[in-house]
Structure formats: C-alpha cells, structure tokens
Symmetry: C2
Subunit: 200 residues, 2 copies
Amino acid sequence: MLKVAVLVSGGGTNLQAIMDAIDNKTIRNAEIAGVISNNAGAYALERARAKGIEARCVSPKQYDNRELFNKALLEETQKLNPDLIVLAGFLVAIPPAMVEAFPYRIINIHPSLIPSFCGKGFYGLKVHEAALARGVKVTGATVHFVDEGTDTGKIILQKPVMVEEGDTPEILQRRVMEQAEWIILPKAIDMIANGELKLG
Amino acid sequence: MLKVAVLVSGGGTNLQAIMDAIDNKTIRNAEIAGVISNNAGAYALERARAKGIEARCVSPKQYDNRELFNKALLEETQKLNPDLIVLAGFLVAIPPAMVEAFPYRIINIHPSLIPSFCGKGFYGLKVHEAALARGVKVTGATVHFVDEGTDTGKIILQKPVMVEEGDTPEILQRRVMEQAEWIILPKAIDMIANGELKLG
C-alpha cells in the first residue's frame, strides 16, 4: 500500500479527485497518510477531516523565519512516513532539503503543458492569464516529479485541453481542472502505486 | 478567390496537403498563385509543376548578399500578387520588408505548440529533438501569423499530438505532420479565404 502525503494550499479539488479515485478504485493500492496545508483556512483540510484523514496546518506565520518553517514542513511531512508526496496545488516553494530527502518521491500538478507557462511566477490563475494573453488554442496540465528547480522535473503525464472562444482565466482554469488535472494526477498516483512508472 | 503564394524549402508535404485540400474542397475559394523555394532541388517545386502551378527558385546562392536576396524574394512574391503568403516549411528568415508589405497576410506552420519549442534555433527536426529531450507527453503544431519576431505572431490554430513510447525525432515529426500540420494549415487557409478569421 503506497502511503501518500498530500500538500495543498487551497480548496483542495485535486485532493478531492484523489480521494474519489481511491474510493472508486481508479487509484489502486494507495492510501492518504495525511494532508498538510500552509493555510489554516484551506478548505482542503476540511475535505480531509470529513474523510477521517489526518490534516494539519504548517504555516509560515507560525515560525520566526523561512528556515524554521521549512524545517517544520519537512518534519511534519516525515511524521506521515510517506512513500509519495503529492503537491496538489501547494503554493509554497519546496525546500531543497525536502527534495533531497524524497528523491523522485515528490510529484506536482501544474496547470499548463510544460514547458509553456511554467517556472517562477506562473502559478494558479496567472498561468491561465498568460495562456490567454498569448492567444494559445491548446493548453492543458502536467504531472511531474519535483526537483530542485521550478517546474523543471521529469514529466510523468500531460493532457491537452482546448481553449474556447470567450474563455476567461477563471473559466479556463476550471476546464483544465475538470478535463486534465483531476484525471492525470490520480492516474499518476495509480501508476506509481502499481509499479507502472519507475521512481527515478 | 483567395490567391495564395506558397514558400517552401523542402519536400513540400504541407504544400501537397494544401493542393489536396483545394482539390477536395476542404479549402474553399482559394487557389495557389505560385510556389517559391529557396532551394532549387526542393521536391516541392516538382509537386507544384506536376499540378501546373508556377514554381520558381529564389536562392541566396544567386545573389551577392542577403539584402539582394531579400529584395528578390519580395519581388518574386509580389509578382504573384498574392492575397496570402503561406510559409509551408520555409527555412528562411522572412525579411522585415516582406512582413511590412503583407501585414497579417503571411502565415506560418510551426511543428510544436507555441510557446513551447519555438523561436530562433527551433526549426525542423530540432523542434522534435528538443521536445523528446524535455520528455513532454503532448506536442503538436501551430499555425500563426508572421510578424517581425520569430514565432511570435498571433496564433490562428493549434492541434495537440500525443508523444508515444519509443518515439524518435523522425517518427514524432511524421506523426505531428500527419495528425496536425496537414490538417490545421489547410483549415487556416480555408478560414481566411472564407472570412472566418479577421486578417488583422
């Protein structure tokens, strides 16, 4: 059984997709060991608790400096003893020590087809704003391993999504979630849990 | 009837796709006014002549310097009196004077999903080599207007193509042609010929 730690900053729709996929066996042989958010008000924490999953906040506000926060984040994650760490909309830079502690054991979902609209500054709605500003007709989402760079790690899965006439960043964000993120993130976890993808 | 000038450097499979689409009425209300290649040995020239289409070579080798070549290229293109110039695998930088002479009247096909793998240095097989090196799972092709930059013009159409296990740059190049380029380039010409896309 693959033990998964989910790190999330916001509403937790990707977390929900993972929980649903475990329930309906789209993800086989995996369970969520716990959920961590940097944001005490994240609805993702409620989603987890409603399912009886351990959920806690580790916020930079609780610590005097970034180093102490990074240390706490790593420690709280390690307490869950995860086989895999899933960044499911986690808007915090992953400390290098965590990347080092979990080589090829951290995956991230990014709401574009990397290498388009990724790297520093491209997160959340900004990704879709940039895609619409460039006038692309195809966007999508990417699941990738996390390395020391920003969105530079090995790509696991990508799924394209067509941009439509009249799309706003919000509408496009939702469509990319529904048509890509909620499908490929659970699929990547299932592949890893069942040895269909080499970790490293 | 939209008069189209096609500029091409190589084998001319995109030219063939355009000619076929005109024959089978996938492209309506357009005709090829002529084909120009920078390469005297381009098979594209033979394809055109076999259809009774005017085809000529304008090679940098025929001119003492780049300026004279650029001038000749513009003049030969203007002689065709085209409503639209289609770069169908034309591996020559379009002279600024030509962009100025044909605003929103020059379109290009690029074998990736712009803004991925585009700009200076990304042409032909190099695009697919770069895509495979980055490990993307989705690539595709883009039809865009040509402006003063390299692959920076307004996007008209894009179509995604999945990368498959075992793809080489050559195999991927062929699949992107078949599944994307030969479809969206004729479609863009048809849209322009029939007023379904504003030119500028």
